[in-house]
Structures are given as C-alpha cells and as structure tokens.
C-alpha cells in the first residue's frame, strides 16, 4: 500500500534520514520506533508533504506522493495526528472535525457566498458525519466546546476524530499516547484498535510507549540516527540486540 524507498533528508549538515526504506501492507499496523532525533517525525512529514526529501521515493497505491501538492495528500486518503497536537484552538470540537472533512467537500467561494442549496446540503451532511464521529469517540457532549481548554487526553481523541473525518485509508499517528497517564494509554490503545477495525484503516504509528507499540503493531521498524536498524515482527524487535543497544545503551 505504502512503499518508502531510499528516503534521504538533510537539514544543513545533519542527515535526518538516510536511505530509509520499508513497506506497509494494506490492513496492517506498522510501528515506527527509535530514540529521540532518529527521524521518525521527519519521515511522517515526508509522507504528508510537510518536507521534501533530498532523495528517494514514496508511493501510495501506485501514486507518487512526492509529486503531489501538500494539500492534495488528504484527498488521497492519508490523515495524520501531530506529536504535540495540531488542533485549531479557537474552533469548536465539532468544527475541528468538520475541517478534517475539508477534502471531502466541494463548496467553492462563490457558492458559499451565495449559500446555494447544495451548500446547505453539504453543510448538513458534514455536520451529521462529524457528530457521528464525535459520538463514536465519546465526544458528543463537547461538540460545541472550543478545542482550547480541554484536557490533553480528550484533545488526543478530538485529533483522532478529526483525522478520521478525512476518511483515511492510511492513518499516521505521531506519538498518540505521549503525555497520557497509565490508565489512559490502555483506553487509547483499545480505542485505536476498535477504530482500526471499524474504519478499516492501515496504521503507521510513531510511539515510544513500547507496550502500546508491541500490543498494536504487526510489524515494527526501528530507526536510529536516520538509518533503519531493524525491521520485523514486534517480538523479534524486542529481542534484537541492535535495537536494545540503540535504545538503552549497553554497559561498557
């Protein structure tokens, strides 16, 4: 479904990603792990056209992602969440989710100004769909609340709802459980599992919480200093001495 091949990104003298290659099969969940600064988020940014790699290719269902304009990625069916939340703080929770469905709407500027009947219809549809997603994630009571001022854990769910509003086939989660308490991590893991099943999405997850990654993912890719150092099923990765060394260091 997603093929990343030979991605290299340099920021000045620093090579953030160095020839990283892996594939994601449809319906699977792939975990992306590695110590801080390994290039995980940079890789996500390449997938969503936030940054352009110096070399390499990314193809999604045969489409060359790197040839797309940044705003066109959502239309392809790729959605993501952000490491430190990327919500719209002054919009309500419902509006946040409705912006997620932006790529599914057609209303242009002129039609909107005149509020043609089809604009009303589309608005009603988007609103219903957003409300449905909010109910699904247990956020319906907060629909009219501005996104700022809500607890972090709740905002994580709002962001997930917004990403699902894109109607993604590929969902990229950037540290979905960082900053959550122990109990919340469990809840969120259940949520992600059920969402994955119900919405039939393929997942790529960047996360440091090993319990979360190992419980969720079918395959794990480990990066270190921009290089892929290991790839395989979670249980192999957990025992891989190279991974252990990169993450924990080894006694001298």
């Amino acid at each position: 479904m997603l093929t990343v091949d030979g991605i290299t990104v340099r920021f000045g003298g620093i090579t953030a990603l160095d020839g990283v290659a892996f594939t994601v099969e449809p319906g699977t969940a792939v975990g992306l792990i590695g110590p801080n600064g390994a290039g995980k988020t940079t890789l996500f940014n390449c997938l969503t056209r936030r940054c352009t790699p110096d070399a390499g290719t990314v193809s999604f269902d045969g489409v060359d992602l790197l040839a797309l304009a940044p705003h066109a990625v959502a239309e392809c069916g790729i959605a993501r969440t952000f490491q430190n939340l990327g919500l719209f703080p002054r919009l309500t929770v419902r509006e946040n989710v409705m912006v997620g469905a932006h790529s599914r709407g057609r209303t242009g500027h002129l039609a909107a100004a005149l509020r043609l009947p089809r604009v009303r219809r589309e608005e009603a549809e988007l609103r219903d769909r957003a409300d449905e997603l909010l109910r699904r994630l247990g956020l319906e009571d907060l629909a009219d609340h501005p996104a700022s001022g809500l607890p972090f854990g709740t905002l994580k769910r709002v962001e997930l709802a917004r990403a699902l509003a894109v109607r993604p086939r590929l969902l990229l989660l950037d540290e979905p459980v960082n900053g959550l308490s122990h109990g919340e991590v469990g809840q969120f893991a259940d949520l992600v599992r059920s969402v994955r099943r119900d919405f039939d999405v393929t997942l790529v997850v960047v996360e440091h919480h090993m319990g979360f990654v190992m419980g969720l993912c079918d395959k794990v890719v480990c990066l270190d200093f921009g290089r892929k150092i290991a790839e395989g099923p979670p249980e192999d990765i957990q025992r891989d001495p190279v991974v252990i060394e990169a993450y924990l260091g080894v006694a001298a």
Binding site: T41, N45, R50, C51, A69, P70, H71, A72, V73, A74, E75, A79, R80, F82, Q83, N84, L85, G86, L87, F88, P89, R90, L91, E95, M98, V99, G100, H102, S103, G105, T107, G108, H109, A112, A113, L114, R115, V119, E122, E123, L126, L139, D141, H145, P146, S148, G149, L150, P151, G153, T154, K156, R157, R162, V166, L180, S181, G183, E184, Q187
Partner: protein
C-alpha cells in the same frame, strides 16, 4: 436526545428570526424619526460597517493583517465617481464594477500576502495606503486631481415620497444588509472554516487538505471587495471624492474600528463602525483643542475594559457569570467528598462554558502559532 436538540435548534432559530425582524423594523423606522443629519450619520455607520465586515474577514477570521484597506475603499469610491462623472452610467451600474475591480485588486495583493505575515504584511499594505492619494492627485485628467470629483447623489423616485437622505439611507441599508449576509454565508461554510483553520494552525490545515494559497488570496480578495463596495456607497452618500478623504489615516481608523468593535465577531463591525462614526464627534465636544488625543484615549479605554472588543463585552460578562455559577456548583459538589478527577480524559472535565471570545484576544499581527515539527 435528537428531537430535543432539534427543538432547541428551532427555538434558537425562532429567537434569531425574531431578533432579525425586530432589527429590520427598527432599521426601517429610523429615518422617519431622526433629523436629516442624524440619518446621514447612520448611513455612514452602515457604509463603514461594510468596510469593517470585509476587514474582519481578513484580520479577524483570516488572521492576516492589512493597513491598506483605505486604499481599496478609495479605489471603490473613485471607480464609482469616475463612472458617474465621465460616463454617466447611473448609480446602480457602479456597484458591481467597483466590487469586481476591488476584488481583482485584492486578489493581486493577496499574492504577496502569501509570503509575508505580521509586521511585514502590515508594512506592505500600509505602503499601498500611503501611495494611493498622491497617485490620485497626479492622474488629474481622470480623477480631477486635488480638487476631486463632485457627482450626483442617488435621487429618490417620485413614487416613494422620500427625502434624499432617507432614500440614501435605504439604498445603503439594502446593500449593506446583503454584504453582511454574504460575509456570514462565507463564514458558515467549508470555505469559512478553512479560513479559520488556516488562522489557527496553518500546517494542520494543509494536512487536512486546505489549499493555503487559494484561501489566503481569496480572503484578501473578498476583503478588498467589501472595502470597495463600501467606497462605492461612500461616493453615493457624500457625492464627492477627493484624495484627501482617503489618506492612510482612514486605513488605520478602519483597523482601529474593527479591533474596538470586536475581531472575529459577526456584529463587531457594526459596533466598530458606530464607534468610528460617533466617537470623533464626541471627542470634538469634549476637547476642541485636541480631539485626536481624546479619540485615542477612548480607544485605549475601550481596549482596557473590553480587550475582545465591544462585541466581546456581552459574552465575556455572560461567561464570567456562568463561570462563577459553575465554580460555586463545583465547590458544592466537592464538599460532598467527590473523588478527585483522576482520569483527565473523561469528557466531563471542565464543562464550564468558556466563552470563545476570550481566546480571541490575540494581538493583531501576532505571528501565527505553528507547531514544532
């Protein structure tokens, strides 16, 4: 649950319709109760409200800034004046032309706005406002130079039995009502939400599929168009344009009016327009020597009392009352030994209706927040 929200929606709609009807009735009755000069002042409030509504799209909802809207206002005013003076086209024809011309002008200026933000954008737009009046003076053959152009005001048809000022008022009322409705329509759509999303978080908006260049330039274009329409109405009402009516102070007054009225509020432009129209004359009464100083001090006073503008004042007061009540209720509950809220992900967290206006008190031209990547 569903039917209940439906009923709630309907009562809310009903109440809104009632308020709109009442406002319309008052607006219709006003010119028959006031003296011609007061009617003229009210007409000018409506004219400024249109310009402010446009500026609001750009600054309040779009998160950009313009110190050059006086130039678009002037462009609209001169388009109308030249058409009336040289080509004798009749008033109605000038409106779409002024609107279209300023829309295109705004589209052109929206392109640099894509690359500039904050203070830089403010400077570039300010230069537009500074440079236009001398240009108008230069192009004497078309614009009448420093002397300006005197044109005919719209005359009331005989059947109406209205005086000239009353007729102007009604014409402007109709145009401004449509303009404000268009602004509201834009905001309550996919397009408007995209604009708000870009203001709040550009890169997240783009990831959601919002095409930044399109929405940002169009915000500029719409905004300029509203200013142009207001300028056109100005020509109709005043019947005279000259370069000195559109100095860069106009641009700054417009921005000040918008901030005082309330950024990102639908009726803020009306309040701001009233402020811009009436406060200078109040200032004149208070101190004949230095009305500008009094005007400035009054702006400071309003911003001190109501940092979210006059429009935000009511909802802020309401929010404060609700918070106090919710706070009292919470302390009542916690005294009945409720376990501390352990899981913060519970949706029951702060249900206090935090008023959205209070978060809008971001300084104009503040760099948009971008999340670290």
């Amino acid at each position: 649950m569903r039917s209940m929200t439906a009923v709630l929606d309907r009562t809310r709609h009903g109440r809104f319709a009632l308020a709109a009807l009442l406002a319309a009735a008052v607006a219709m009755a006003v010119p028959f109760y006031f003296a011609p000069f007061q009617v003229f002042q009210l007409t000018m409030v409506l004219v400024y409200a249109v310009a402010l509504a446009g500026l609001n799209l750009l600054v309040g909802f779009g998160g950009q800034i313009s110190l050059g809207h006086g130039a678009f206002f002037a462009a609209g005013a001169y388009t109308a004046a030249i058409m009336l003076d040289r080509f004798d086209t009749g008033h109605l024809a000038t409106l779409p032309v002024a609107a279209a011309a300023c829309f295109l002008l705004g589209l052109g200026f929206g392109v640099p706005a894509l690359r500039l933000r904050g203070l830089y954008l403010a400077l570039v737009t300010l230069s537009l406002a500074v440079f236009l009046p001398p240009l108008l003076k230069r192009l004497e053959a078309v614009t009448g130079g420093s002397m300006g152009l005197t044109v005919e005001k719209p005359q009331p048809p005989a059947w109406s039995g209205l005086a000239e000022d009353q007729w102007s008022y009604f014409v402007v009322l109709a145009v401004s009502a449509v303009a404000l409705l268009v602004a509201r329509n834009l905001l309550r759509s996919r397009v408007g939400r995209a604009l708000l999303a870009v203001r709040d978080n550009e890169s997240a908006a783009e990831v959601m599929g919002v095409r930044l260049s399109l929405h940002k330039t169009f915000a500029f274009a719409w905004s300029a168009m509203f200013a142009g329409v207001a300028g056109c109405l100005y020509t109709w009402v005043i019947g005279f344009v000259s370069p000195d009516s559109f100095s860069f102070v106009l641009s700054i007054t417009l921005l000040a009016g918008l901030v005082v009225g309330g950024l990102a509020s639908l009726y803020g432009p009306l309040l701001g327009a009233a402020f811009v129209m009436y406060v200078p004359s109040v200032a004149q009464d208070l101190s004949e020597a230095a009305p500008g100083v009094v005007f400035g001090l009054l702006i400071i006073a309003v911003m001190f009392v109501a940092p979210t503008g006059l429009a935000g004042l009511a909802s802020r007061a309401g929010g404060a009352v609700a918070r106090r009540r919710a706070g009292a209720a919470a302390s009542d509950r916690s005294s009945v030994a409720e376990p501390p809220p352990e899981s913060t992900s519970e949706p029951s967290a702060p249900r206090t209706p935090v008023d959205p206006e209070s978060v809008e008190a971001e300084p104009v031209g503040a760099p948009p927040r971008t999340e670290k990547e």
